[in-house]
């Protein structure tokens, strides 16, 4: 069901752990849906010099988190923002269809971390990280629990209508 690359990143994830004094923190997902990702970035002169993650979730969630840290490290913020969900899945030689929908949140997590960094620069962030809930489609399945649990949702359309949704 999973590719060798997914298995490798799941069994031996890269850049795992909390980052003290991160410059930006992005949080995506919801424990109710079974996936929560936290992405920590350190930024110097507009470049992501360090990135780590923490993830509660299935093998796909952990592997995509690990992969996004590899993909984003050393990139400028603008380059990093262009990394899509599909890029992450492709770098892992693909994900099972159902996981494209529910567990491929790492790109959203990185975007939230970058957004958090920029909000901090503008003095708008509390320093607790930026939380998005890319769960509008889960909400349909879970009778709205996702929405009610995350009033701080800043990306109403975050889920991006991934493939397989609504099938």
């Amino acid at each position: 069901m999973y590719t060798e690359k997914v298995k490798q990143h799941f069994m031996n994830p890269h850049n795992m752990g909390e980052m003290a004094d991160a410059d930006g923190v992005g949080i995506v997902g919801n424990p109710v849906c079974g996936d929560v990702m936290k992405i920590f970035i350190r930024v110097r002169d507009g470049v992501i010099t360090d990135i780590t993650f923490q993830t509660f979730g299935c093998a796909a969630a952990i592997a995509t988190s690990s992969m996004i840290t590899d993909l984003a490290k050393g990139k400028t913020l603008d380059e990093a923002l262009k990394i899509s969900r599909n890029d992450v899945a492709d770098a892992l030689d693909g994900l099972p269809r159902i996981k494209m929908h529910c567990s491929n949140l790492a790109a959203d997590g990185l975007q939230a971390a970058i957004e958090d960094f920029r909000r901090r620069e503008r003095g708008e962030s509390t320093g607790e990280g930026t939380q998005t809930t890319p769960c509008d489609s889960c909400a349909a399945h879970l009778a709205g629990e996702c929405d009610t649990q995350h009033p701080g949702d800043v990306h109403g359309d975050g889920h991006g209508g991934g493939p397989g949704h609504g099938a």
């Binding site: 994830p13 109710v32 929560v36 993830t55 299935c58 093998a59 159902i98």
Partner: protein, 394 residues
């Protein structure tokens, strides 16, 4: 690496004695049991011998057993066939919220077709309340279907009490005994069971064979029409090799019953005490002791997701199961776990271990050595774990 197969509630390895018993029916004794020539009669004899043997094991008469293709078919036949047969009486059935999909989805289908269905709730250990069955029965109720034991959390339901109640109220009682046949004693007479479904591959028999016990007078209308096999209730050439294997599997189980069940219980309780005793923030789902399936242990592990536990255990040589949505192909966690009151996030972090004939003390010890490490590794990755730590919860 010695692989510890701990998923015997999903399916079992066919016992070598069963393979041996089946072999001649695949090679030499391959007759069609409906034909009157020597090969056909030989197959017929073997079929009827198997039927009588399994019937005696559950206290039934041979003519009350119908062989089918699987447990799911038996449940479908019992429920749809009864609803169809008794359509003049009414269109209401009663079942529980924690039934196997073979029953639950059949009930949902009938509901969509215009039947009324009551889905009884369960308590936090997964037990159906007999008084609630009593309250739910209406004049139009044609069938009560409550599983003998839950396939996930191992709760053994009070089917004898439900059977007695249904008998008193004049309603037919069906039970899905796929998890209990061969592991929990069954006597359809004393337990007042009218319809009972079982399956071969859960008891070290082959896949592709199931049975339905239907009490005399409670035979459902057929789903499959054709040559009139199985007394007209289930047409289709009999799977003689599979049925002979099923019967042999039951005989093997019967001959070593007390010893095997006692061994399951010892291993199960070692697992339960070991896991809940050594890993913080883990708990047992379902009851302890006699009212739990002897071979089942089901754990909730906080702050970790089930599929990651399953795959990390797989890499360490343990094959287990989970109620997490992430392994089920749907987005919803187990209906049973939600019905016993777990939150979604708790249901995602569950692991089921189901022991089998070839499970050993060494495997259980090795598991108790490995599992805490797997949980620790995954918790080290989990933001929920560090948040709980920051809040001082753990």
């Amino acid at each position: 690496m010695d692989i510890a197969y701990f998923d015997n509630a999903a399916t079992t390895r066919v016992d070598p004695r069963v393979v041996e018993a089946m072999q001649p029916f695949l090679t030499e004794r391959y007759g069609n049991a409906s034909e009157p020539h020597a090969k056909g009669l030989d197959a017929r004899d073997a079929l009827e011998e198997a039927r009588a043997s399994i019937a005696s094991f559950i206290g039934a008469q041979p003519e009350e057993l119908i062989f089918t293709g699987c447990g799911t078919e038996s449940d479908n036949l019992a429920i749809k066939g009864t609803v169809h047969r008794l359509r003049e009486k009414g269109r209401h059935i009663i079942t529980s919220q924690i039934e196997h999909p073979a029953v639950y989805e059949t009930a949902r289908h009938l509901e969509a077709e215009g039947c009324e269905v009551t889905y009884l709730p369960v308590d936090k250990e997964g037990f159906v309340d007999v008084a609630k069955v009593d309250e739910a029965i209406r004049p139009t109720t044609v069938l009560v279907s409550v599983m003998h034991a839950n396939n996930e959390i191992g709760t053994i339901e009070p089917v004898a009490e439900i059977g007695a109640l249904c008998r008193e109220r004049g309603v037919l009682f069906h039970t899905d005994a796929v998890q209990t046949l061969g592991k929990v004693p069954i006597d359809v007479e004393s337990m007042n069971i009218d319809l009972l479904a079982g399956s071969g591959h859960k008891v070290y028999g082959p896949k592709g064979v199931g049975l339905l016990y239907a009490r005399k007078g409670a035979r459902p209308s057929p789903l499959l029409h054709g040559g009139g096999h199985e007394g007209g209730t289930r047409s289709g050439t009999e799977n003689v090799a599979g049925i002979v294997g099923f019967a042999k599997a039951i005989e093997v189980m019967r001959d070593g019953f007390d010893e095997e069940v006692a061994r399951y219980r010892r291993l199960r309780d070692a697992l339960i005490d070991g896991v809940t005793g050594t890993i913080p923030h883990t708990y047992l789902n379902g009851p302890r002791g006699e009212r739990r399936l002897p071979h089942n242990a089901h754990f909730g592990v906080r702050y970790v997701e089930g599929e990651s536990m399953l795959l990390r255990l797989d890499a360490e040589g343990f094959e287990v199961s989970t109620g997490s949505a992430c392994s089920s192909g749907s987005l919803e966690p187990s209906r049973t776990l939600l019905a016993i009151g777990l939150k979604h996030e708790e249901a995602h972090g569950s692991v089921r271990i189901s022991l089998g004939r070839w499970s050993t003390v060494e495997q259980v010890e090795r598991f108790l050595d490995t599992f805490p490490r797997v949980v620790e590794q995954l918790r080290a990755m989990s933001p929920l774990w560090s948040e709980a730590k920051a809040r001082g919860e753990v």
